[in-house]
């Protein structure tokens, strides 16, 4: 069931205008910090109020400026996982998860010693088991590791039975070795949810691992919304290409049929087929260059180059024209011997992306 959003907000001189529909599955917000990803989530959850627009979840209007509808966060049934997880420090892991039942009248016990009914305490314990934190039931958040905190926060959200889930950079507070493990766990949980999940991140790897659809955000606007595969094959715009990890982007213009001049690189490319009508830039991923002429129609002459060593690969920066900008080529590392620089590199037709502004 979809989450439809179309909102505008001016905030600290920043203009947000987001319009998108997120179906069941993981919808990634990919954007630089300060691009409006978190602000949009806060508006969806009801923590902040947009200036105008509409938010509809499963046909339920959460916000509508024209009809003067603005449900409180309590009424929205939207789960929100904060960057730092926002676990209540004065409550144990179990108590934190029980808070997920707060909005559920059936879970409440009336009368003396109010709290939650026994079957809901059992439910919470089941969740702790499912999230592998049952031994930590009586511990306080300050005694937990980053991964355990994340599991607790996720259990709390699952207890809440939300109709949509917002994950605000959920892995940013974790060490990199833990990130991979938590990503794997998260993938299983998200797959079983069957709800719209908005996943905020600035990591293209996380998007590739977890998302079904990708929304590239720039300056408060959804620039491109594409299925994940399509997004990484051709992101469509320059910003989206940069966000997808493309290292080489040049201004480009059509010179003739099948002929494109890449101004920043000082290179003219000849295409055998399919040039789109409109484009402003072309992009080539750093891994898509080959030394073998059989692997590509387009030839780049290496006039000048220097090599940078990365942990597991080499990065060769080269110029293809005397005044041209540096182009990056990445190749795997073997035996730690620096690569021999060839005179020419080759790229296939289909590995060149045509991009709009």
């Amino acid at each position: 069931m979809p989450l439809e959003v179309n909102i505008r907000k001016t905030f600290d001189g920043f203009q947000l205008h987001m319009e998108f529909t997120a179906e069941d599955g993981v919808f990634a917000f990919l954007g630089a910090s300060g691009s409006g990803k978190s602000l949009t989530c806060k508006c969806i959850a009801g923590i902040m109020t947009p200036d105008e627009g509409r938010i509809v979840l499963n046909g339920r209007v959460l916000y509508d400026s024209e009809r003067k509808i603005n449900l409180s966060p309590q009424q929205r049934r939207v789960g929100y996982m904060f960057q730092d997880y926002a676990l209540f420090p004065n409550m144990t892991v179990l108590e934190n998860v029980l808070c997920g039942f707060s909005g559920n009248e059936a879970a409440r016990r009336r009368g003396p010693g109010r709290g939650f009914r026994t079957e809901y305490i059992e439910k919470a314990n089941d969740l702790l088991t499912r999230f592998q934190i049952s031994e930590l039931s009586g511990k306080y958040p300050s005694e937990l590791s980053g991964g355990q905190k994340q599991r607790c926060a996720m259990a709390r959200i699952v207890a809440q039975e939300p109709e949509a889930v917002l994950l605000d950079e959920p892995f940013s507070a974790l060490d990199s070795h833990l990130r991979w493990q938590m990503e794997t766990e998260m993938r299983t949980i998200l797959a079983s949810m069957g709800k719209p999940v908005i996943f905020v991140t600035h990591s293209r790897d996380e998007v590739f691992h977890l998302a079904d659809r990708v929304c590239a955000i720039k300056d408060g606007q959804a620039e491109v919304i594409l299925d994940k595969k399509a997004f990484f094959e051709n992101p469509g715009t320059r910003t989206a290409a940069l966000l997808s990890g493309c290292k080489n982007i040049s201004k480009a213009e059509r010179k003739g049929p099948g002929e494109v001049y890449a101004a920043d690189w000082g290179v003219t490319l000849h295409f055998r087929e399919r040039i789109p009508e409109q484009f402003d830039f072309i992009g080539i991923r750093a891994h898509y260059f080959s030394m073998d002429p059989k692997d590509g129609e387009h030839e780049f002459e290496i006039l000048e180059s220097h090599v940078t060593e990365d942990p597991f690969e080499w990065t060769v920066s080269f110029r293809a024209a005397p005044e041209g900008q540096m182009i990056r080529w990445k190749l795997p590392k073997r035996n730690g011997v620096p690569p021999e620089i060839p005179r020419y590199l080759y790229v296939r037709d289909e590995d060149i992306m045509f991009l709009r502004k």
Partner: protein, 225 residues
């Protein structure tokens, strides 16, 4: 000689001061937290204005507060007179006056400490509680107050200490009636005027011991986390 002094001494100032301090602290605790919880999330202008108003008793001489309290509660004034004739409530020259004066003077300490404590609570905790469906009252009781506890505790202790030693406004509103409104602070002022340094010294020692114990308790209470 010490024993003789203790046998003859009138301990009423100690009990009056403690009673006043406790009553004023209870009043300030609730009013201060209520005011702080309303003001800490207000807009900057509203906040500056209300905050300035509520901090006044802390920065003005206590005698100024005493002057205003007399304007309000004096039996010759409309409000004080109405209060007495309709409800039989009299603040001037009574223990109630001690409590009112001490409360007014000590209130800013409670309010300011509580407000600072609320402001330091991580906003996301409140946001998270809201999205989880907790009611505003539940959030206040189970999230905001526990997170603000250290600041609230120190505010309460400082409020008690200030109320315990209040002199200026108390002497103007409640006067110094031995056994009724005569607090330790007023007792010291009175016996010094009579040149009785021994009694003044004794009460000074009492108030120093109480103040020291309070501060130590506060440090122990707030260093726990």
């Amino acid at each position: 000689m010490m024993m003789e002094f203790l046998e003859k001494a009138d301990f009423s100032p100690l009990f009056i001061s403690l009673k006043t301090g406790i009553a004023a602290t209870v009043i300030c605790f609730f009013l201060g937290i209520f005011a702080a919880s309303r003001i800490y999330r207000a807009g900057p202008k509203t906040k500056a204005l209300l905050d300035g108003l509520l901090t006044m008793p802390l920065v003005l001489p206590p005698t100024v507060a005493g002057f205003f309290l007399l304007l309000i509660f004096s039996l010759k004034r409309p409000f004080g007179n109405a209060l007495y004739t309709h409800f039989g409530i009299k603040a001037v020259q009574t223990w109630l006056g001690c409590v009112i004066a001490a409360s007014v003077i000590a209130f800013p300490l409670m309010y300011r400490n509580a407000r600072a404590a609320f402001e330091q609570v991580d906003e996301n905790l409140i946001h998270a509680a809201r999205t989880l469906g907790m009611s505003e009252w539940e959030i206040f009781r189970r999230v905001l107050m526990p997170a603000a506890k250290p600041g609230i505790v120190s505010g309460t202790v400082l409020t008690f200490a200030r109320a315990l030693g209040e002199y200026g406004a108390t002497s103007m509103l409640a006067g110094n009636i031995p056994g009724k409104t005569g607090t330790i602070a007023q007792k010291i002022a009175m016996v010094i005027q009579n040149g009785d340094y021994a009694t003044a010294g004794f009460w000074t020692a009492v108030i120093i011991v109480i103040a020291f114990v309070i501060v130590v308790i506060m440090n122990l209470g707030t260093s726990g986390r």
